[in-house]
Assembly symmetry: C2
Homo-oligomer: 315 residues x 2
């Protein structure tokens, strides 16, 4: 469930565009007014506001905002203004194309594993339209070794999205995974094959068989070597395929623990999930940490950036 709160009745796109224009003009920018409008409009409404703004003022709203806002708020608002598909394409592009620091595989894993096959396809189409490249080739160039094999296959596969489960196969592949982990053959192509090609329903059945037969989850069976990038990527893949809300809860927990050092992750998760499942993520967060997510974020952030994130949280 989305955490986004849209007022009823909602002002017309032209009214919103006028209010934004007023917030930009005069002495200094009125960030509070901008947030009070845009943090409470869904993707289709934001698009309508962009169109209305362009028509009324012959100016691109996003470009204008870039010149009016600064810092974390500017970045977060820039992400927020795009609809899903386009936003995800920009997120991955920023990650795989920036020269330094090394790209964060989690951004790619999230988009490949949490999205439905159709959503991932939409991201790939927008990516090609914007950048004149395929997502696959950019990911393939940016990574090497086992992690490349994993990531390219994750973004490449058009997964089956149905609910059918083959129980015999689940047992067999749970054993394949267990053997591969036991033999410490983590780069083993069988592990990558299973994680990247099977449907989510089938993988869920396989992981359940794993737990039943070996008394532990597959994620716990992976060695606790937090330095190894490939293990980390495997864990993120498994978690984001089967329990996306738990996966995002952990990202947020770590980002908040990092005390203002991981705004990138914080912004990404809040902005990308606000219209999807942030409500559930908040619940998982509270259950795990006994603190409302809004409180934790309020402690970790400040100013208009904080106000924007809290508005998206919808509390």
């Amino acid at each position: 469930m989305a955490s986004l709160k849209v007022p009823h009745p909602v002002p017309s796109p032209a009214e919103d565009a006028e209010s934004l224009r007023k917030a930009f003009e005069g002495w200094g920018t009125n960030e509070k007014s901008i947030i009070s409008i845009l943090a409470h409009r869904d993707a289709a409404q934001r698009m309508q506001i962009r169109l209305a703004y362009e028509e009324l003022y012959q100016q691109d709203l996003i470009k204008r905002m870039e010149s009016e806002l600064t810092g974390h708020l500017e970045k977060a608002m820039y992400r927020w203004m795009f609809g899903p598909g386009e936003r995800e394409a920009i997120l991955v592009y920023t990650e795989v194309r920036k020269a330094n620091p090394t790209p964060d595989p989690r951004v790619i894993i999230e988009i490949a594993c949490v999205s439905s096959p159709e959503e991932l396809l939409a991201v790939k189409k927008v990516y090609q339209l914007r950048y004149k490249h395929s997502l696959e080739e950019d990911v393939a160039v940016r990574f090497t070794g086992d992690i490349r094999k994993l990531l390219v296959a994750l973004v490449g596969t058009y997964r089956y999205d149905g609910g059918e489960i083959d129980t015999r196969l689940a047992h067999a592949e749970a054993k394949t995974l267990h053997d591969a982990i036991d033999e410490k053959a983590f780069g083993h192509e069988e592990v990558i094959r299973i994680l990247t090609t099977r449907s989510k329903a089938q993988l869920n059945a396989t992981f359940n068989c794993y737990k039943d037969e070996y008394g532990t989850t597959i994620n716990k069976s992976l060695p606790a070597d937090s330095e190894n990038e490939f293990f980390l990527a495997l864990r993120a893949t498994i978690r984001s395929l089967t329990s996306p809300c738990k996966y995002f809860e952990k990202l947020l927990r770590n980002a908040v623990i990092n005390q203002g050092k991981d705004e990138n992750t914080l912004t990404r998760v809040i902005v990308t999930r606000a219209e999807k499942d942030l409500q559930e993520i908040k619940e998982v967060y509270y259950k795990r940490n006994n603190v409302p997510l809004a409180h934790a974020i309020a402690k970790d952030t400040s100013g208009d950036y904080k106000a924007f994130l809290l508005a998206l949280l919808g509390d």
Copy 2:
């Protein structure tokens, strides 16, 4: 250009369905009449005839034909009756799912490389609808080693379809390919990465740079070990990506040389290309062999099967 010839005016679907019904009834099946109708209707028209037949006789036309026809003609007509997308999905499924003999990687390579990204996507969607599996997972299970890496990446990638070329990149990747071949590191992941992720336009530029800089085509640089399945698959990949008509001409040439022992390939190429580029393939064939393709096929085949293929050739 298609080789298929459709009469003008064309009978209505109901008239065609009635004529087919007559061809099925009475003493023996009138194969000639069936061929004279169906070998001269395009995919949309065949679909309309199926619907009309179902409505008039409460019977599935394809099922009825399966019981009326036999041998190579039955198989070819079964392939022909489906539109592209569905036919290709059936072709790959038959290949990857049959237990014996070992699957022919060329069927997968053709569909992945000759099709446009949108056509390949359509095949993958139909595949999932029909078989409740992704094409990717079935290919991944059926092959092993380097050939698996190649095939899974080929069917997985949603290639960029634009015409933009990065010349600097073409030079760099021609060198990467040359180094990999020189070091005999054919399973080298760089070769697979380049062939499976770059756009066709970019690959064409890369192969041209290769020729300019190393004085030979990339295909000729690969060792002439005709037993090595992976080299064969690499060659088929390169050829079907850049020169599909030449690729198909060679398949037909070998099938015809095999004198009635490779009807599978013969049927597949004629049926899948008749509505696409069989006209060009015929021209390439004539230029290469100094014999019209129709003559070669007439020599190699017989009876109604021969009549059907020649009708699709449109001569």
